[in-house]
């Protein structure tokens, strides 16, 4: 079942199978749907065997970077005498992304189960679920689910009667984009300001409270019980494209699109079919102009690039962008790219943690120039300045927020330079007051 729309026949609902089904939320309802069988089985296995299955399944991180999950888990050395921690990154703040939110709203026990298996697999007794501050309903659902799980002895000192301890804590963030960065998240969990830390040391060596820590995205952990239940081969078989990308992926689709919402498709699905068949294409009378396929931090695609894309980690890279978080932002031909990019830059300027010079100053400077161009006050030199600032902001800071701000600016200027130049030559936004459709093209062409 999809949500808020019905599942499309070409979707492969695994994680989203119970979206929109309120009965799946309770522990009883979840158990009826096969819940906690995977945990029960996992607790009888050796942790290394679980890591092996996850490795074999080809599951990769769904938060954006796509790092192989089993490999990440294998960095946690068993028997090192230190407490280990699992963090679940539920600080879903990437603009255009709302898949984790739905997992937690409809199937909170799926995440609790995933956390418990993950924690056990990496030799941790404690898992923290760090939930974005604005997520009031998911927080409530998760808190309820964890309480139920404790009451039923699924979590606690003797998880499911296995004699093994698994604790899950739900922690509410205060609402900062940067706290979705893994080390900032750990600082925030520790009660510090949510500033990213310098790496190395990596979390697997010194993470939360200075102890070996693994941090995984909600969607990643929620997929784990399915892999335990159905086996690595089953998961690996869900692949229509590059064999390095396996399983299903949830995409959050928003913007100028007929049917926004979450869609779950197998890796390697054609992006063109996804956009037009599943999501219904652009609103009536409009055409797609650009797609940001993986949350706002990935390069913007022209619609031609998007239509040629195969939806997996490698496929998006081949078309000049990244799979990222799977937040698909659709932009149609009635929208001003300069305005859209200025809005994105403003977001990053607001969310920069202010540690690194290039990010603190660069995001704000970029925003000011972008807004000036949008207001018709730009010059041709501004475009060169923007590109140079972007170059200065790329690859030089502690985390990638700075790079993320530079990405839409650079790809925007490269791919939609005519719109920037129209703003400069006409000294106004050509889209302002212009009629949708043909009027816009004329405006830009002039």
């Amino acid at each position: 079942m999809g949500f808020p729309h019905r599942s499309h026949p070409r979707e492969t609902p695994v994680l989203s199978q119970h979206f929109g089904d309120p009965d799946a939320r309770s522990l009883a309802g979840w158990r009826q749907r096969g819940g906690y069988r995977a945990l029960e089985q996992a607790l009888t296995m050796e942790p290394a065997a679980i890591v092996g299955i996850v490795k074999e399944s080809g599951l990769r991180g769904r938060g954006g970077a796509g790092f192989p999950t089993g490999l990440k888990w294998s960095f946690m050395k068993p028997g090192d005498g230190k407490p280990h921690y699992l963090c679940c990154n539920a600080d879903e703040s990437e603009p255009g992304t709302f898949k984790d939110r739905e997992i937690m709203r409809w199937t909170p026990h799926a995440l609790v189960e995933g956390c418990a298996i993950g924690a056990y697999a990496i030799g941790a007794e404690t898992a923290y679920v760090y939930i974005r501050g604005e997520f009031t309903e998911p927080l409530q659902r998760m808190t309820d689910a964890v309480r139920e799980a404790y009451a039923e002895g699924i979590l606690g000192p003797n998880a499911l009667g296995s004699g093994k301890r698994v604790d899950v804590y739900v922690h509410k963030g205060a609402g900062a984009y940067i706290c979705g960065e893994e080390t900032a998240l750990m600082n925030s969990l520790e009660g510090r300001r949510g500033n990213p830390r310098i790496k190395p040391p990596f979390p697997a060596v010194a993470g939360l409270f200075g102890k070996p820590t693994t941090i995984n995205n909600v969607e990643t952990l929620a997929a784990v019980p399915h892999i335990i239940n159905n086996g690595a081969e089953w998961y690996k078989a869900m692949c229509q494209g590059n064999p390095k990308s396996t399983g299903t992926k949830l995409y959050s689709v928003c913007g100028n699109i007929a049917r926004p919402g979450n869609y779950e498709v197998v890796m390697g699905f054609p992006f063109k079919d996804f956009l037009y068949d599943l999501c219904g294409g652009p609103p009536p009378g409009r055409r797609f102009k650009a797609i940001i396929p993986g949350g706002s931090s990935v390069p913007i695609q022209t619609i031609a690039e998007a239509e040629a894309t195969v939806m997996d980690y490698e496929g998006f890279v081949a078309e000049g962008t990244m799979l990222g978080s799977g937040g698909v932002i659709c932009i149609d031909d009635a929208q001003c790219m300069v305005k859209q990019i200025a809005r994105l830059a403003r977001f990053y300027a607001h969310e920069s943690c202010a540690q690194c010079t290039q990010c603190r100053e660069g995001t704000a400077w970029t925003t000011k120039i972008m807004e000036r161009i949008e207001a018709g006050q730009g010059t041709r030199e501004d475009l060169d300045t923007l590109l140079e600032i972007a170059d200065n902001m790329t690859g030089k800071t502690i985390c990638v927020l700075s790079d993320s701000c530079a990405v839409p600016v650079v790809s925007g200027i490269q791919k939609f330079r005519d719109e920037f130049e129209a703003h400069i030559t006409q000294q106004r936004c050509p889209f302002r007051g212009a009629a949708a459709g043909g009027g816009v093209a004329t405006a830009v062409a002039a």
């Binding site: 969310e351 540690q355 010079t357 603190r360 100053e361 704000a364 400077w365 200065n392 502690i398």
Partner: protein, 534 residues
């Protein structure tokens, strides 16, 4: 030192060998290569936020922050390659876009790292065409003023208060380019060591209220010195303008004060500029003190001492050299000597072992003890009828004047060897005006027995001479062959005569000092240091 593995790498074409775990920045420093930086400070935990120290490492995809990256074997690091230099120019441009560029009215001008690096590697002009961010000046309490418009958010001040002072008063407030250094509500920078944030600030964002608008840094003369205000013996730099001390700042010494100086030490320097000094030698003639030539005054002092025992009331703020010569006069006449140390509250700096503003508010109480003076709260107690009282730069401030007068009345006569003439000693027979510590070279012994040199920072007024010089003449007049032309001559005599100082050499004290012999744990180190010298 545990035997750590040594790493060999190349920095700017120079082969460098450093222990494993050393940062690139420190490795470069050991090779004499400065990697420009702002947030890094050797006395603070690494933050890695200013991104100024990015360097190019061959075969690495990205530039590396030198302060936060450990060296690896065989690395080849470029500090002045195009890529690294462009990155720094980029950082400088970003740091300056919202900076008011108000160097002409900024106290930091001339000693500002933002200014220095911008001159060296910054862009010639700014591309920034937008309005600059503005935040009003804030009083941080204590001696500190915050000018947020000049701030580059290196967070040295925050880290100092958190990790060294253990008094987390400062924070980074807000995010993005709205960020400023904030102060927690109802808390001020009143920690006794908080003033260090002013020195730590690489730009003109944190200013000393005391020094505000007092001088341009290039108008200052500087002398390596020792803070004279307590027995810790923090290494310091005395800065003068037109022969007036206007600022004391810490001078790094890992053995004593690392990079720090307490607020009392910083702010208590005005006594070095006192205007109520005695500027000429005086002798008593017709019931009044009359100015005379030095020779006449020295002879008069010798006459007064003849056949009598001296009682030396010594200041614990005098140099080892002066105290040594006073001890010679004391011993020569079979007399005694005492000193009193003014007390104050002890204030440690928790992040640095064995560093505190000490209760003993004088620089050389330890030296006075080693030279046989007895410490007493009522130092005149030992003064006997018929003694000659030598008042060596001691005003006995805070002691009831009536009781002082009663005690002083026991003296046959009074010889004042001092910077000032206290009212209770106005009946002195001879007054020998001497230099204060800022006006002479000398050494102090700190509470751990470390002998440290200080250099002359300003000229003495009138006919004033260093006390060691005047006392040398007096000893000669008393019949001793005591020819001292330099403080090092006195120190050599001291080292030869006093076992505690045996083996020490004035020149080899250098500018960081050496522990005295026989002083507990310090002995071995002292022996090694002296022994190692060529």
């Amino acid at each position: 030192m545990t035997d750590r593995k040594m790493i060999t790498l190349t920095i700017e074409g120079r082969q460098v060998q450093v222990p494993e775990g050393t940062s690139m920045l420190e490795a470069a420093r050991s090779a004499g290569v400065l990697i420009p930086h702002y947030c890094y400070h050797p006395g603070l935990p690494v933050a890695g936020v200013c991104r100024m120290c990015l360097v190019e490492v061959e075969k690495a995809p990205k530039l590396a922050p030198a302060c936060a990256t450990a060296v690896a074997d065989g690395q080849v690091i470029h500090v002045h390659s195009d890529k690294a230099r462009e990155a720094r120019t980029g950082v400088l441009e970003m740091l300056l876009i919202n900076h008011p560029l108000d160097c002409p009215i900024c106290d930091q001008s001339g000693e500002c790292e933002l200014q220095d690096y911008t001159y060296a590697e910054g862009r010639k002009s700014s591309r920034y065409r937008e309005a600059k961010r503005f935040n009003p000046v804030e009083d941080f309490g204590g001696d500190v003023l915050y000018v947020p418009n000049r701030c580059i958010l290196c967070t040295r001040c925050v880290r100092f208060m958190d990790d060294v002072a253990h008094d987390p008063v400062l924070n980074v407030s807000e995010r993005g380019d709205r960020a400023v250094i904030g102060k927690f509500e109802d808390q001020d920078l009143t920690h006794p060591w908080a003033g260090n944030v002013v020195d730590l600030c690489p730009v003109g964002a944190l200013l000393s209220k005391d020094f505000l608008n007092k001088a341009r840094s290039w108008d200052l003369d500087r002398a390596a010195s020792i803070c004279p205000n307590c027995s810790q013996g923090c290494n310091a730099t005395l800065e003068t303008r037109d022969n007036v001390v206007v600022r004391i700042r810490p001078r790094p010494n890992d053995e004593v004060n690392r990079y720090f100086l307490c607020d009392e030490g910083r702010l208590d320097y005005r006594w070095l500029n006192r205007r109520d000094r005695i500027e000429y030698p005086h002798v008593r003639r017709d019931h009044a003190l009359a100015p005379v030539e030095w020779e006449i005054a020295v002879d008069a002092a010798a006459v007064a001492l003849r056949g009598r025992q001296a009682f030396v009331l010594a200041s614990p703020g005098l140099s080892n050299e002066t105290l040594f010569l006073l001890a010679r006069i004391r011993d020569r006449t079979g007399g005694r000597g005492a000193f009193r140390v003014r007390q104050g509250a002890e204030a440690p700096l928790p992040g640095v072992p064995d560093l505190a503003l000490r209760a003993d508010r004088a620089a050389n109480g330890r030296g006075a003890e080693l030279l046989g003076f007895s410490r007493s709260e009522t130092p005149l107690e030992g003064l006997r009828n018929g003694d000659v009282l030598i008042v060596a730069d001691e005003e006995l401030a805070g002691i009831d004047p009536a009781s002082v007068a009663t005690a002083v009345a026991r003296a046959a006569s009074i010889i004042v060897v001092g910077t000032t003439l206290p009212a209770w000693a106005s009946g002195a027979a001879v007054v020998l005006p001497v230099a204060n510590m800022a006006e002479e070279d000398g050494t102090f012994t700190n509470l751990r027995g470390r002998v440290q040199r200080y250099l002359q920072a300003k000229q003495a007024p009138g006919l004033v001479r260093p006390a060691w010089s005047a006392l040398g003449d007096l000893l000669t007049a008393l019949g001793e062959s005591a020819l001292y032309f330099l403080p090092s001559d006195v120190f050599a005599a001291l080292a030869a005569a006093v076992p505690a100082f045996a083996g020490l050499d004035y020149d080899r004290l250098g500018l960081v000092g050496v522990p005295v012999a026989g002083d507990g744990a310090a002995t071995a180190a002292a022996g090694a240091l002296v022994g190692a010298a060529p």
